[in-house]
């Protein structure tokens, strides 16, 4: 997909000075938002699927159901938000909307990614609709079911429920849908590949680290967001939530590890462009962003493992009982901000290799 070029720059003792290229083509908030929300959607979808499967296997009456639906909500909102963000960036809106006609280079991650995102949104919407409506759903309660109230006000609830059940696929069909969606959810790693294949930018050109960091931090955010919203509306943190909080913590930890590794690669790189990036991220205006990234991921890690872990081992400490929800909501909120900050810093801090005039 990308030519196997090496960029060899030899700085001689003679005249050799860099000419820096403007590296601000993507310094627009819509783009980090686009990159971020795509993977958040993936995390949400995976939460929706796994929680749904858990839900169908137990009758424990825990928060699996709500978590599942909120997961799909995160997937839909994230995916749609991502799509809107990238559309707002389009030079000619129509060409973005008609992407199947225009985006034909399947060797480009941007084309592949667009299909992934659109497909994920479609699958998420379907999964959500099936989760919200139908006969089974009518017996359920939970804040995530709020569209039911809206549809009911329109007097269409019965009709919709019946309609949805009519088209509902058999169990295997739904599982297949979930499987496809899950693959798509993981495929949101494309957002990392979009950057990683750009050889002119050392901050991006780490073919394993950047995609892994994008995927892990994004999934952590998606799962964490679903968890936080569920806990917020349910005003409770049960073992299901606890478990997913731990998952969030683990994902954050792994994400942080890759972020840290990438940071050291930049810090120790010989490339002049890497040095410029390093300065921008550690001393310049983006330094706050860098700190936010670390803070968000660390807090996500600690809160996830801490609160989640405590819940799992059933330490019903009074402090925990009172503080669990706000702790999770606050921490995972910070995790989301930190993860978004990661994308912002990646785009705004990017620096292309200079053209070197060599003697």
């Amino acid at each position: 997909m990308f030519p196997d070029t090496t960029i060899a720059v030899v700085l001689a003792q003679g005249f050799a000075e860099p000419y820096w290229l403007p590296s601000d083509y993507w310094s627009e908030l819509s783009l980090p938002v686009y990159l971020f929300l795509a993977v958040v959607a993936g995390g949400g979808f995976l939460t929706g699927v796994t929680a749904s499967l858990l839900d169908s296997r137990t009758d424990a009456g825990g928060l699996e159901g709500e978590l599942s639906r909120w997961g799909f909500w995160v997937a839909v909102a994230g995916g749609a938000g991502s799509g809107l963000a990238v559309l707002s960036h389009q030079a000619i809106l129509l060409r973005g909307l008609l992407f199947p006609i225009y985006m034909q280079n399947f060797e480009s991650w941007m084309t592949i990614g667009t299909w992934i995102l659109v497909s994920l949104v479609v699958v998420s919407v379907v999964a959500l609709v099936f989760a919200l409506f139908g006969d089974e759903a009518s017996a359920l309660e939970g804040a995530s079911l709020f569209p039911r109230a809206i549809v009911a006000k329109l007097g269409l609830l019965e009709t919709v429920d019946r309609l949805v059940d009519r088209v509902r696929p058999p169990k295997n069909g739904l599982v297949a849908l979930y499987a496809v969606g899950s693959v798509l959810a993981l495929a949101t790693v494309y957002t990392g590949f979009e950057l990683a294949v750009v050889e002119t930018v050392p901050l991006w050109n780490m073919p394993v680290v950047v995609p892994a960091a994008f995927l892990l931090t994004g999934l952590a955010s998606g799962v964490g967001l679903a968890v936080a919203v569920t806990a917020l509306f349910a005003r409770d943190v049960d073992t299901v939530i606890g478990g997913y909080a731990v998952a969030t913590g683990l994902l954050s930890a792994l994400g942080l590890a890759f972020v840290w590794y990438g940071w050291t690669e930049i810090a120790t790189s010989d490339a002049p462009a890497a040095a410029v990036t390093y300065v921008a991220l550690s001393e310049g205006s983006l330094a706050i962003g860098s700190w936010l990234v670390v803070l968000g991921l660390a807090v996500g890690l600690l809160a996830g493992l801490g609160v989640g872990g405590a819940t799992l081992v059933d330490r019903r400490l009074p402090l925990l009982e009172r503080a669990a929800v706000p702790a999770l909501v606050g921490s995972f909120g910070l995790l989301v901000i930190g993860s978004l900050a990661f994308r912002i810093v990646m785009l705004y801090g990017a620096q292309e290799h200079p053209v070197v005039v060599v003697g």
Binding site: M1, F2, P3, Q13, W26, Y102, M110, E194, V357
Partner: protein, 215 residues
């Protein structure tokens, strides 16, 4: 496949006058403050009076590996078989700027429409010019001389089929080109005063300044 067209630049002859930049804009009817397809940058170093400033004229190099073409999701960028010139089809471009990132020379520019335009080796005129044109002819064959080549006061810029340009380059420049300087995308003359130092470094007699970077 026709012969690849290539640019050549000699910083020893370049006087940094920017005639190439303005000539390009005149030929393609571009605004003064936009669409800088050919730029002249003055790279300087040192403290007075050990000061040096060297002008460098650059545009799209129509790279043999055209990284811009590879990343373009819309297949709007095409490296032509006939002459290797890289053109853009503005009817397909979606303005995503991916090509700007891929380009090692910062050649793509974006105008008010948000769409990309860049040097087309004067294969056509205006943004998107050149797309779909027949094989480029040399001036001897009746084709136009690229504007920057035609008006370079110092005769520092050349362009043409690779074999022709190589024949006009100095031995040193050709050697460096063959050895992979600038990834074989453009032929650049070594700077007079540093040619000896560079050769000495290549031959391992002198240590290179600070860094060797390959990525």
């Amino acid at each position: 496949m026709g012969e690849q067209w290539l640019f050549y630049f000699d910083p020893n002859r370049c006087i940094g006058c920017h005639a190439c930049s303005v000539a390009c804009k005149q030929r393609h009817d571009l605004e003064a403050d936009a669409d800088d397809w050919r730029t002249v940058t003055h790279v300087s170093k040192g403290e007075y009076p050990d000061f040096e400033q060297v002008p460098v004229s650059m545009s799209c190099m129509h790279c043999h590996d055209s990284p811009c073409e590879s990343v373009c999701p819309a297949n709007a960028i095409e490296k032509r078989e006939e002459d290797g010139i890289v053109t853009v089809n503005r009817d397909r471009c979606i303005g995503c700027h991916y090509c700007a990132w891929a380009c090692p020379y910062g050649a793509p520019t974006y105008d008010d429409t948000g769409l990309m335009s860049k040097c087309n080796l004067c294969l056509g005129e205006g943004p998107g010019g050149g797309h779909g044109q027949p094989e480029r002819k040399t001036p001897e064959e009746g084709g136009s001389e690229p504007a920057c080549v035609a008006d370079c006061v110092g005769d520092a810029i050349k362009a043409g089929p690779k074999s022709e340009v190589m024949a006009e380059a100095s031995d040193r420049a050709a050697e460096r080109f063959e050895a992979g300087a600038y990834e074989g995308r453009v032929i650049v003359e070594p700077m007079e005063e540093d040619a000896d130092i560079a050769e000495s470094i290549r031959e391992g007699e002198t240590a290179s300044g600070t860094v060797t970077y390959e990525g």
